[in-house]
């Protein structure tokens, strides 16, 4: 287990390093002169040169990359062009907000998705299965813009039961915060529903067809107990991995949902950094996302191994 984790961490670090290269060169090299990009085409050359000196962008690219990575390793994410303030606290706050939104989405979708998948699997080929599966597939492919707009119209405008803006009034308690997050969480939950439902369905169908399921039935175990004790434990394993790999998608979805519902999370942070050419902020945000994705997939792999006795034993041997 330790060896497995170390190997995965090592590979993860290499990937992060490549990611830092990609991000740095997309941010610093491709747009040409960042100082010019910030000040616009009409700014005086002397002003552009002064800003370039201040930003350090007049240094050779390799040196800039070295300085940037050096700072990153000491926990210094740099200074935002846009806010003229250190990035780390801004990023930390945004990440916290996004995490809260993502949690609401997960709390909504994981039980419903698993339940949907298991119900579909227990009714394979029947109408219930078809309805759940078609709904799942459609929910997964429809962009959050579309579902978000429909939600805003139905629950915000026509029924007027949920707030359109995700930002809650200052000093609001947890209950009010969650109330504001319900509508933004639904588009994310809809997309995740399809993935989770399909995995749970496939896992359950496979487990139902297994020898141990037949044995359990033949030895007279009530169907409910059989499903709880034998089927679910096996069928939910692959679902855990899917949930973790969807973190990557989730963060992408946050960009859209947070912009649509005016919520100050990592998604709007990256979006604002991109539109105002705040390259240090953009780079830091993207790296944090990459790292979050890697941690999530690693955690899922470990959890999978821990929960699966077959793999756990093989690790010990």
């Amino acid at each position: 287990m330790a060896g497995f984790v170390l190997k995965r961490l090592g590979l993860g670090l290499i990937t992060l390093w490549l990611l830092s290269l990609l991000v740095f060169f997309a941010g610093q090299v491709l747009p040409g002169d960042p100082a010019r990009a910030i000040l616009g085409p009409l700014a005086a050359p002397s002003a552009v040169a002064a800003l370039a000196r201040q930003l350090g962008t007049n240094q050779p690219v390799i040196d800039q990359y070295g300085t940037w990575v050096g700072h990153l390793l000491t926990g210094n994410l740099g200074t935002s062009y846009q806010y003229q303030a250190p990035i780390a606290p801004l990023l930390g706050k945004a990440l916290g907000n996004s995490l809260e939104l993502a949690l609401v989405a997960f709390v909504m979708v994981v039980p419903i998705g698993i339940l949907g998948g298991v119900i579909a699997a227990l009714n394979v080929g029947r109408r219930v299965d078809r309805v759940i599966s078609v709904f799942g597939l459609s929910a997964t492919v429809i962009p959050e813009v579309v579902s978000g707009i429909v939600l805003i119209l139905v629950f915000g405008l026509w029924l007027n039961v949920l707030p359109i803006q995700a930002a809650w009034p200052p000093g609001a308690g947890l209950g009010t915060q969650i109330y504001h997050l319900i509508m933004p969480a639904i588009p994310l939950a809809l997309i995740l529903f399809g993935y989770i439902q399909q995995m749970a369905r496939a896992g359950t169908v496979e487990a139902l067809a297994s020898d141990y399921a037949r044995t359990a039935t033949l030895k007279g175990l009530p169907r409910g107990v059989m499903i709880r004790r034998h089927i679910l434990r096996n069928s939910l394993l692959p679902t855990i991995t899917v949930i973790a790999t969807q973190t990557g998608y989730l963060i992408g979805g946050l960009v859209l949902v947070e912009t649509l519902f005016h919520y100050q999370g990592i998604g709007t942070l990256i979006y604002n950094a991109a539109t105002s050419k705040d390259f240090p902020m953009l780079e830091a945000g993207v790296l944090v996302i990459g790292a979050a994705y890697m941690v999530a997939t690693l955690a899922a792999d470990m959890l999978y191994t821990l929960l699966n006795p077959r793999l756990r034993l093989r690790g010990v041997e």
Partner: protein, 294 residues
């Protein structure tokens, strides 16, 4: 035993040439309800993109004395904040997405096929190095990679096509690589190698035709994702610039008016997006199951 005496399936298998297989595939395809619905929806939008301007009003014509009008006989879908006809903008808005999405997907498929063929065929160090880059790319959500690329290259439809094409490349490469790994150990590849064919010839003339099925499926599935991503990025303001009608951009430009009750300015564009993605995905899944069958 004559062919006629065999069960139907084996008879078909014995006498099936490439042409028969293709005919079988097409027959499977058109017998699927999902394919017919998907094709109808896509066909509708293609017609709208080509001939839409002949039928609807001018999507650019502003009428500042008739802004934010609810749907009525003269404006079936109402008018937007600048008094433009929403129906016209929705119909003509199909143009940009039906050009950008297929082109981006095509670029991604061609590049991804080349990269995937090289990874699967050469294995070893080529595979390892490219594999690492693919991993790094996949650690980022599509939308974020798109935003970085667009910031680096400037917002326009061309950028959108290039960026999405490049983002799709590693995804498609991974699928093609997996298919090539199966093929490369088969006898016909060994035979080609023994004949002394060059690697390029083996990759593109011998192996490529045999992995076309997964590539076709990948293309149609990615087409759905391309529509998804382009609408999202246009909504964020990274696509075609106004005033050209564009579903994603039109939604973001008018979403502020929703609180005032002007629902028609965003709902119809959103429904248009939904029909197109669902249509494309129905096509994709029916093509996949027809290929599986034949």
């Amino acid at each position: 035993m004559s062919i006629e005496a065999l069960p139907v399936e084996s008879r078909a298998a014995l006498s099936a040439g490439a042409g028969d297989l293709r005919r079988q595939f097409l027959r499977d395809l058109v017998h699927q309800k999902a394919f017919m619905i998907g094709a109808t929806v896509l066909g509708f939008w293609v017609l709208a993109a080509i001939f839409g301007t002949l039928v609807v009003q001018d999507p650019l014509a502003q009428n500042l004395s008739a802004i934010n009008q609810a749907p009525s006989a003269s404006h079936l879908f109402g008018t937007d904040q600048l008094g433009r006809d929403v129906l016209a903008r929705v119909i003509v808005g199909s143009r940009s997405i039906l050009v950008t999405a297929p082109l981006a997907t095509l670029i991604g498929t061609v590049l991804g096929t080349v990269v995937g063929l090289s990874m699967g065929y050469f294995r070893g160090i080529v595979d390892d190095i490219l594999g690492r880059f693919v991993e790094a790319f996949l650690a980022l959500p599509l939308v974020v990679t798109g935003i970085i690329g667009i910031v680096a290259l400037g917002a326009s439809d061309t950028t959108l096509i290039i960026v999405i094409g490049i983002v799709f490349t590693p995804l498609i490469a991974r699928t093609v690589r997996a298919a090539v790994l199966v093929e490369r150990d088969l006898d016909y590849v060994a035979a080609a190698r023994l004949r002394g064919e060059r690697s390029l010839y083996i990759m593109f003339v011998e192996i490529l035709p045999n992995v076309l099925a997964p590539i076709t499926v990948e293309f149609t599935v990615r087409l759905g994702y391309a529509v998804f991503t382009i609408v999202t990025l246009s909504f964020l303001g990274f696509g075609l610039q106004p005033p050209t009608p564009n579903w994603g951009y039109d939604i973001s430009a008018n979403v502020g008016a929703v609180t005032a009750g002007y629902w028609w300015e965003v709902l119809f564009a959103a429904v248009a997006v939904a029909t197109l993605v669902i249509g494309v995905n129905m096509l994709a899944s029916s093509i996949e199951s027809a290929l599986d069958a034949s």
